[in-house]
Each structure stands twice: as structure tokens, then as C-alpha cells.
Amino acid sequence: MTTKAPNPATAPSKMLKYWHRHMSTLLGLGIFAALLALWETSISLGWISKFVLTPPSGIVKALIKLTQNGELTGALFTTLSILAASLGLAMVIGISIGYLLYRNQLWGKAFEPLLGAIFASPLPLMFPIFLVLFGRTFYAIIFLATIYGSIPIIMNTREALLSVRRTLIWVGRSFRLSETQIFWKIIVPAAAPLMFSGIRMGLIYALLGVVAFEFLTDLGGLGRLLSELNYKFKIPESFALTAATVMLSGLVLFITGWIERSISNSR
């Protein structure tokens, strides 16, 4: 049995490929680390007052303190619960209405531009109306976040169902499938990636709405905690919670992006 000697010409090429594939990620991490180092150094050297801008080390300490005393975990649980309720409602409403607008072409053409206009309008400015409707309760936040999240789901669901290739449906009919079977076995799987894009956008907008209205109304969750820390002039804790909220948004974006790519690749 002969063993093949490693070809020195290919070894660096594999390393080069690995470097090229991950270069942008490593560069991004490097730039981020450099900015954090510059931030920390500026405050250590007294160029910027630590009472104005908390250093990254102070943010990490504050984050640990908030986690240990249970404030962060409690607030995160409240926000995620409200988000789950809002997204659940948004999905039920969004997919149902999206399906109705797909089935009835006239309604679809009539209401789609209207939905686009509502989505593009400054909807968050309506929050006083919901406070009057529901009082200072979590229902105000859930309802507003549901509206905010359901519009992209409606539009993407309709678009997804309309974009299914007619060829696939004709093939289903040629095998004498019933309309119900064609819908569940052909149309829904074909529409799933675009529908999930809408759900992903709905989740991001619902999270935006939940945290923003918690902050404005002081009702509960991450937003209320941030508002309370700000009122008490707890600057390091405010910075820490802002960083935690940005990380939460980034994590939601990353996880849903990964799921979306998995659904697209599995077709």
C-alpha cells in the first residue's frame, strides 16, 4: 500500500482559502476590539470623563452586577414574554390576512399599497392613543407591537403565496391532488422561505416596538429598567443595559438569519 506524500503546493492554498473565507469576520472582530481598546484607553488617560462615558470594563462590571441582583434577568423575562405574545398574535393575524389577500386578488391589490403606506408612516407616534385605549397596562404594548409586527408578515405572506411557480401547481393537479393537498404539500413548502422572511421582519419590528414602548411608558421589561436607571443617574448600568439590548437585537437578527438560510437551503 502506497501513501501519498503531501503536496506542499496545496497546503498553503487551503490556509489561504480559510483566511479568505473568514477574513472579513476576523477583520470585523479586530476593528471592534480596537475601538473598545481606544474607548477604554481614552477614559483611563482622562481624555474623556468616566462620568460622561462609561468605559467598557465599567459596562461589563455593571452588566455582571445587574445579572447577579436579578434585575436584568427579570426585565429580560418580561420583555421576552411580551415579545412572544405580540409575535404570536402578529403571526396569527398576519398569516390569516396575508392568506385572505392572496385568495382574493382584488382585495390584495386594493389593500397592499395601503399596508405599505401604514408601515412607512410614523406608527410609534400613535402610542398615546393606545395608552388611552388600554390604560398603562401591558396590553397597550402588546397591541401596538402586534400591529407593528403583523404588517410585514401580511405583506410577505401574500407575496410568498403569489410567487409560487404555477408549474408546481400544475404538476400537483396532473397527479390529481385535491386543492387542500396542493395547498399544504406544494404551495406552503414553496412559500415557506419568503413567509419566514416576513416573520423575521415582524419579529424584529415587534422587538423594536416592545422595548421602545416599555421605555416610554415605564411599564416593565428592559425598557422600563433602562428608564429607571436613567432617572436614578446610574450611568454605568444604563450603558450596560443599552449594550445588552443591542446584543439582544443582534442575537435575534443572527438566529433568525441562520434559520432563514437553513429553510432556503433545505428546498
Binding site: S24, P122, P124, I129, V132, L216, L226, T242, V246
Partner: protein, 246 residues
Amino acid sequence: MLNTPTRVRAFALFAIWLIWEVNAQIAWLVPEVFTPTSKILVGLVEISTSKVFYEHLFFTILSTGVGFLIAVVAGTIIGIALGAFKIFGRALNPYIAAFASSPKIIFLPVVMSFAGWGTETKITMAFIGAIFPILLSAYAGMLTINQVHIRVAKSFNIKWYDLVRKVYLPSLRHPLLVGFRLGFGASLVSVVLTEAKFGESGLGFLAMQYYGLYAIGKMFSVLVILFALAIIANFLLDRFATRVPH
């Protein structure tokens, strides 16, 4: 009769207004919210004849306008730079996307720690609201520029500022205008929510004052004016966009 999308849309809007008005007149369902249209119009007239309203309007427009204009310049420059140096664009895109998908109002305590409680905070919040849509639109537009145009320009030994002026900016006109429209709406929302939370002036502060006094008709009137501001700005930018040649 209802056989075209336009007629269906018009009928639906009329039906919504009718349900609203009937409910408001008979005070059946949540009468505090369903204010009659006549009351909203009376509120609009009262507000628009008040000098105090124009002071608040001035502060909102000033903060939104200044923050938005700074974001236009900064967002365009950064977006073009990230698109021109693609490795940096790919490297920083995840971080920019994470910040872009965060609710901008959470940056208010951070901004207040160095900008205080005044107009500077509102301008900064308007900037933060507007920069991400503009930056991301400029970056996305840069990725779609025909590379042949760039190679031909470089083959004439073009200077970098001429490349930006004669190749990048003309190619980016439509993506940038989309970004500007989204950015203006975002900056107006950021300013009004800042005024509503911590303001001492501006239309957001005025709306919350009326809410606190339970003057729902006047509160609705302020919200109608805010929506009208957003619609007018969008309309003007849209008209500008249609005049820009492809």
C-alpha cells in the same frame, strides 16, 4: 360597483371613517379614544391659531432637520466608503445591522449623559434615527454599481474625488433617495419620542401634555399634524426622486 382596487380602497377607508364617526357620536365603544372628526378639526383650528404651537413646531422641525442633514452627509460618506472598500463593508456589516435593528430610543440615556436635556440631545437622536437607513441604502447601492463603469473610470486615471462625484453619486441617486425617505421618517419619530419622554418643548411634549390633561381631541390634532409632516416630507422627496433621471 367595487370592481377595481381603487374603489375597494376608497370604500374601505370610507367605511372605517363611518364606523369611527358613528361610534364617536353615539359614544358606544371607548368614547375617550373615538373622538368625533369635528372635534379633531376644531382642535386643529385652535392649535394652529395658537402662538405656542408654532414654537413647539419650530423646535421639532429644527431638531429633526439638523439631525437629518448631518445623517445625510455622514451616512452617505460612510456607506460609500464601506462599499468602495468591500472588505471593510463585509467586516462591519453585522455590527451595523445589530445597531440598525435596535430600538433607537434606548440610546437616549447614553446621549443625555453627554448632551444634556436640551436641543442637542434631540438633534443627536434625530441623527441616530436617520443614519442607519441612509448608510445601509448607500452601502447596498454601492454593491449594485456596475464594476465596468468603475474600471473604465480608473483606466482614465481618475482621482478618487472625481470617481465619487462622476461615478458613485450618479449611480447611487435612487438608493440614496430611498434611504433619505426612510431616514427622515425615522429621525422624526426619534425626535418626537424623545420630546414625549424627556422633552420640555416640541410636538411630542405637546401631545403628552394634552394626554396628561385628557384633551384627547387636541392630542389627536397634534398626531394628525405629525403624520401630515411625515407625509409632506415623503411626498417632496418622492417628487424629487421622480425628477432625477435614471
